[in-house]
């Protein structure tokens, strides 16, 4: 028998949080509806992780901005997931395809861990950012497959970029499978530490809108160039309060 959570005090509590509370019980298990709702959320996250970004379509949507496609050294998704180090390096001949610059800013769109984040949110964010930086010299937009955040370092170095902005699919949670992250690095070279980057995360329909993210990123790009640095020493007094920092990647 199912105990249905109707007409109950949990209605008050549920209005306070997106956590899955007051789900009711079927014996000691979940009722069928919340069980399947959970499975659907996990399925969306799995599809986002294993989906392939249609970079040709992205290139069309970004036109007339020039684009160039590269791949990381991770040959496929399985290897990408096992070996983050390969996702931070360019495939063997990829650097030859990149123009040598120099450029003030290079925008990279990387698939990261969510294809749906990139397909939904990368183009509007990239176009809005390019528009706000129209007075700077902007390289072709680099479309990178099997990419980790730090792949922006060899790309930016090959293109002699002052600043590289990596727009990348964030690891999906159950509540948002299409969240895009943006990582800004001044004078990118392989070996930059994460503390030398600035992050604007949580760019999606129920999070930060692409135009607001672009406002913050444009401010950060100009501040990085003016101050000659990025990362923890670049204080986050960009327009509006920045979203809370991502939780630490290791143990918390």
């Amino acid at each position: 028998m199912t105990t249905l959570p109707t007409d109950d005090p949990f209605a008050v509590l549920r209005s306070l949080t997106r956590a899955r509370i007051g789900l009711g019980r079927a014996g000691d298990g979940l009722p069928t509806a919340p069980l399947l709702a959970f499975q659907m959320a996990h399925a969306a996250a799995r599809d986002a992780v294993h989906g392939a970004v249609d970079f040709a379509r992205l290139a069309d949507a970004l036109a007339p901005h020039p684009t160039v496609e590269v791949a990381s050294a991770a040959a496929d998704r399985a290897l990408y997931l096992r070996r983050p180090d390969l996702g931070r390096r360019l495939a063997e001949t990829a650097a030859e395809r990149l123009p040598a610059g120099p450029f003030d800013v290079v925008i990279v769109i990387g698939d990261g861990l969510s294809a749906s984040a990139v397909e939904t949110n990368a183009v509007p964010t990239a176009l809005a950012l390019a528009e706000r930086l129209a007075d700077l010299s902007l390289g072709p937009i680099v479309l990178a497959s099997q990419a980790r955040v730090a792949l922006g370092d060899p790309i930016g170095a090959a293109m002699n970029a002052e600043v590289v902005v990596m727009l990348i699919g964030e690891r999906p949670g159950l509540t948002a499978a299409d969240s895009l992250g943006a990582y800004l690095t001044f004078r990118p070279v392989p070996g930059r530490r994460d503390s030398e980057r600035n992050c604007v995360s949580n760019i999606h329909a129920h999070g930060l809108p692409p135009t607001v993210a672009a406002d913050r990123l444009a401010w950060l790009v100009r501040a990085a160039i003016r101050l000659g640095l990025s990362g923890i020493d670049l204080k986050e007094d960009a327009p509006g309060a920045l979203p809370p920092a991502e939780p630490p990647p290791a143990l918390t």
């Binding site: 028998m1 105990t3 959570p5 007409d7 109950d8 005090p9 949990f10 008050v12 509590l13 549920r14 306070l16 949080t17 997106r18 956590a19 899955r20 509370i21 007051g22 789900l23 009711g24 019980r25 079927a26 014996g27 000691d28 298990g29 979940l30 919340p34 959970f38 499975q39 959320a41 996990h42 996250a45 799995r46 986002a48 992780v49 997931l81 096992r82 070996r83 983050p84 180090d85 861990l113 690891r171 999906p172 949670g173 159950l174 509540t175 499978a177 809370p244 920092a245 939780p247 990647p249 290791a250 143990l251 918390t252």
Partner: protein, 469 residues
């Protein structure tokens, strides 16, 4: 890297396998996992893996005292392990090889009392080594004979008990949202291990705000349990200075000095934090004031692994925990990601290993049975691992509303899952907490928590007292 000890050689079917030192032998003997492969230290073939196990089986346990896998001079964790070794406790097994030790542990003579006496004589390298010769079933069977009991306001780890950390995290540390998730867990009988929040923002004001809210809720509901905000140890020390109601001091720890430096901790800092928490005298049934989390891959992640496999380093992290008499220690086994544990096979194996090695050393082990969305695993796999660990006598699980942690973006066990395991395996909450559940009417005469309607008096009373009305 130059060999650090004695090379070992195995010839099998005409094929010779050489292992340059103990660290190499341990790494090659370890079950396959992506982290060791990424570090370039895993066995290059399945045959070499078993050959390493053959060589390991013939290795005397004393070798681990004579050949530190990370040099004594450069690593304070090695110094802690060797300086703190209890030779008298070790004596009954001192002449054994690793293979012989496996059979001893499985034997009927190695009962709970014998294993409890033995624990201080075991080093993490010894327990990691023997685990590599064990099947999953062996890991469950031996761990089930161990018992590590600790206390603060509840007693955790008693025979026949299964506790739960209630983990009501929220992405913006919203106090009302956290209170709502806490009430949801209490209705299921969760929270007897601890009500523990991972704060989204690790700063003093947030930490104190969360500590005060949790302590207020605990007192208002008269729940016999402890609370914890899993901020960095230095933040918690500051909170203690400011007079905040700190029950337990939390810290993530690892198995090497360099990896602990990456977490911003040293052994002396942990000792200072423990003294500070003890000085508050907030425990009622015990004085175990520390809570640690560990996880395979943390040292590799910090580039501080010294070529040692991630499971051996995990056991060393547990040895660090052991030195501070913690109330709770858990591995966050599937949280660190597929680059360390790729799929459910690797996660399940690692969860059983972490529980086994910790318990054998006398560490009060719980497990966060969990996975991320980029790992090849799902909730069915968590059911499997949780069933195995409950059979193995795990002290506690992490429980999250609907298994979905909306702050850390990963999945653990749900309140339902833990309650089901209690009922299925006839396990009880911590006794002090069980008495509270009975007194509030949330539990029935048999100590079970039935599926009450949300409007039923005990639930409605709890929610009203918790401020939901």
């Amino acid at each position: 890297m130059a060999p650090r000890g004695t090379a070992r050689r195995v010839i099998h079917d005409g094929e010779t396998h050489v292992f340059d030192d103990l660290g190499t032998l341990l790494a090659c003997a370890s079950p396959r996992r992506s982290g060791d492969e990424g570090a370039g230290i895993a066995a290059a073939s399945a045959r070499r893996r078993v050959a390493a196990r053959m060589a390991l089986a013939d290795t005397p346990l004393t070798a681990f005292l004579e050949e530190p896998v990370i040099p004594y001079e450069i690593d304070e964790v090695t110094r802690l392990i060797l300086d703190g070794h209890d030779a008298a406790a070790f004596a009954p097994v001192a002449s054994m090889t690793v293979g012989g030790f496996r059979e001893y542990l499985l034997g009927w003579e190695a009962d709970t009392a014998a294993l409890t006496r033995l624990a201080p004589g075991l080093t993490p390298e010894m327990v990691a080594a023997v685990s590599k010769l064990m099947t999953n079933g062996d890991l469950v069977a031996v761990a089930a004979k161990t018992r590590v009991v600790t206390g603060f306001r509840t007693t955790v780890g008693l025979e026949g008990c299964l506790a739960a950390r209630l983990q009501p995290n929220h992405p913006t540390d919203d106090l009302a949202a956290i209170a709502a998730a806490t009430l949801d867990g209490l209705v299921f009988g969760m929270g007897d291990a601890v009500i523990g929040i991972n704060p989204a923002g690790d700063n003093l004001a947030t930490t104190i705000g969360l500590l005060e809210m949790l302590d207020g809720l605990r007192q208002k509901l008269a729940v016999p349990t402890q609370s914890c905000v899993l901020a960095h140890v230095t933040t918690t020390l500051q909170a203690i200075d400011k007079g905040a109601p700190v029950d337990l001091v939390f810290q993530s720890i690892a198995g090497t000095e360099a990896a602990n430096a990456g977490f911003g901790v040293t052994l002396s800092l942990l000792a200072e934090a423990r003294e500070a928490a003890l000085s508050l005298k907030r425990g009622t049934v015990g004085e175990n004031v520390m809570y640690f989390e560990t996880g395979q891959g943390s040292a590799l992640s910090a580039d501080a692994h010294h070529g040692i496999d991630q499971q051996t380093l995990e056991a060393r992290a547990q040895a660090v925990a052991r030195a501070f008499s913690p109330l709770l220690v858990n591995s966050v086994v599937g949280f660190i990601g597929p680059e360390y544990l790729y799929d459910s096979k690797e996660i399940i194996r690692a969860g059983l290993e972490d529980h086994f090695t910790g318990k054998l050393m006398g560490v009060p082990m719980g497990i966060d049975v969990c996975y991320t969305n980029h790992a090849e695993a799902d909730q069915d796999d968590m059911d499997t691992l949780a069933l195995l660990l409950a059979q193995a006598g795990v002290n506690f699980f992490i429980a999250v509303p609907g298994a979905d942690d909306i702050m850390l973006n990963y999945q653990s066990l749900s309140h339902h899952d833990v309650l089901r395991l209690r009922h299925l395996l006839k396990l009880k909450p911590a006794p002090e907490f069980a008495a509270w559940l009975a007194a509030t009417g949330l539990a029935d005469a048999a100590g079970r928590v039935p599926p009450l309607a949300p409007t039923a008096a005990p639930v409605a009373r709890l929610l009203a007292a918790g401020g939901a009305r």
